[in-house]
């Protein structure tokens, strides 16, 4: 389902913060701040997670010269912790109209789509949209204790500690603008291995990107960049192979990139790359936004991918349903 935003809501400002390990990220220099302590000097991982979200929002307000919280009309955000308590707790401090969004790691984009809709409606002047993840609090919930010595396969990915948020408002021709969005279906091709998220999510990304291009009557080459969220190195290869099978040429395949595959560079200790709701969010709402502003990119498609599993669902032998949401951003 493709939505065309006639009023072209703009990304007014962005805030991206990350944890200490993310200094190793190739996108490090684009982040607004990096904290030395994974827990943001709080008692628990989850409290640190909430602080990280608050900090990203504060950075946005500072950049946009918003001094009063109440000037923010909506806060749309999500994370991966049960019941999204870090986001809810951050929203308590922000104290503005808030809806928790959950599309797993695709929340970075699904929240931006809803924020664009609210802006298009005229209901919102300023809406903050985005998502975040904190390595320790996500690992303990989905996998093993952080210090447990389990062996991860080459297909595994590393959940990032990062948050990325965008302030979405009325159209400004000098800023990157969201012209269309696609809300993805839930796609499940039967992957059951929770250590192969790239393989589980690639079909969802394929489905969303293909339908976006088809409904918009576009070719891959109409874009300067099509960037998926966190397919990882192996997942990106699978996605490219899927497009190759539908007849895409090499120069078209070169337009595809993945935030998770590039996040930690070639460092093998992160296996297939980065993942987590903060992965796509922190790359889209820092590096990509800045590249659009400088004019390097004129039209990009950001397609965040999410695996909709829980530890319970895979222990019960269920396959991993996945989704992908996309936004098309242009710079005049």
């Amino acid at each position: 389902m493709v939505i065309i935003f006639k009023t072209k809501p703009s990304i007014i400002a962005c805030g991206a913060v990350a944890g200490p390990l993310e200094k190793k990220s190739v996108f490090y220099s684009y982040f607004d701040s990096v904290v030395e302590d994974e827990r943001w000097n709080q008692k628990t991982n989850e409290q640190g997670h909430a602080m990280m979200i608050q900090e990203a929002c504060n950075i946005i307000m500072k950049k946009a010269n918003i001094t009063n919280n109440l000037d923010i009309d909506f806060f749309l955000s999500g994370d991966l912790v049960n019941q999204m308590t870090p986001t809810n707790f951050a929203a308590r401090e922000l104290a503005v109209s808030f809806i928790g969004m959950f599309s797993a790691c695709a929340t970075s984009v699904s929240s931006a789509i809803v924020a664009s809709l609210l802006t298009e409606l005229g209901a919102s002047k300023y809406a903050i949209a985005g998502s975040s993840s904190q390595h320790n609090s996500i690992e303990r919930q989905f996998r093993y204790p952080v210090d447990y010595g389990g062996q991860k396969p080459e297909t595994a990915q590393w959940t990032v500690t990062a948050a990325g948020y965008a302030l979405i408002g009325k159209h400004d021709p000098k800023l990157p603008s969201i012209v269309a969005g696609t809300i993805g279906k839930v796609v499940d091709y039967g992957e059951v291995n929770p250590f192969h998220m790239g393989g589980a999510m690639a079909p969802a990304a394929f489905d969303t990107i293909s339908s976006h291009l088809k409904k918009r009557n576009q070719k891959i080459t109409d874009y300067d960049l099509i960037m998926t969220g966190d397919l990882g190195k192996i997942g990106l290869k699978i996605l490219k192979a899927m497009f190759a099978q539908t007849g895409a040429k090499q120069e078209e395949l070169d337009i595809f990139r993945d935030a998770g595959a590039e996040f930690y560079g070639e460092d093998k200790s992160f296996q297939s790359g980065a993942s987590g709701a903060g992965c796509s969010a922190s790359v889209y709402y820092s590096y990509i936004e800045q590249q659009l502003k400088t004019g390097r990119y004129k039209r990009v498609l950001l397609c965040a991918t999410g695996a909709l599993l829980s530890p319970l669902s895979f222990q019960q032998g269920q396959s991993i349903p996945c989704t992908a949401h996309a936004i098309e951003i242009t710079m005049e």
Partner: protein, 151 residues
Amino acid sequence: MDQQQYQQIEDQITPPTPYFKNVIKAFLVGGLICTIGHAITYFYIIFFDFTETTVGNPTAATMVFIAMILTGLGLYRKLGQFAGAGSAVPVTGFSNAVVSAAIEHKTEGLVLGVGGNIFKLAGSVIVFGVASAFFVALIKLILVTMGVVEW
């Protein structure tokens, strides 16, 4: 593209699990851990008043202690990624499973956090260890009663 076609593409691109390499690494690291354990056994026998039958307990306790320190320093996790079963199967792996769960749940308090979750991973080792020990003992009892073997 249907599920079967996709499966083919996925299998082609996904790197195969390097079973042989993993087995070699597990053998070497597991063997090294056991060799260290054996050295500790001799240490206790030579310098303290232990015999071959009584030395097992202090040896296991020492190995568990070393693994606990390594877990706390975040090093056992790195060893585990390299060695796989080699560092998971010896008693040090059991220690790592218990200690990592304890560290993880410290923030939820001593009783509900540490106490309630410390055997989250190691619990199944205990359950199946006790259950299989029972059946092995039962088989031996039957064989002894039949006069096939002696205690």
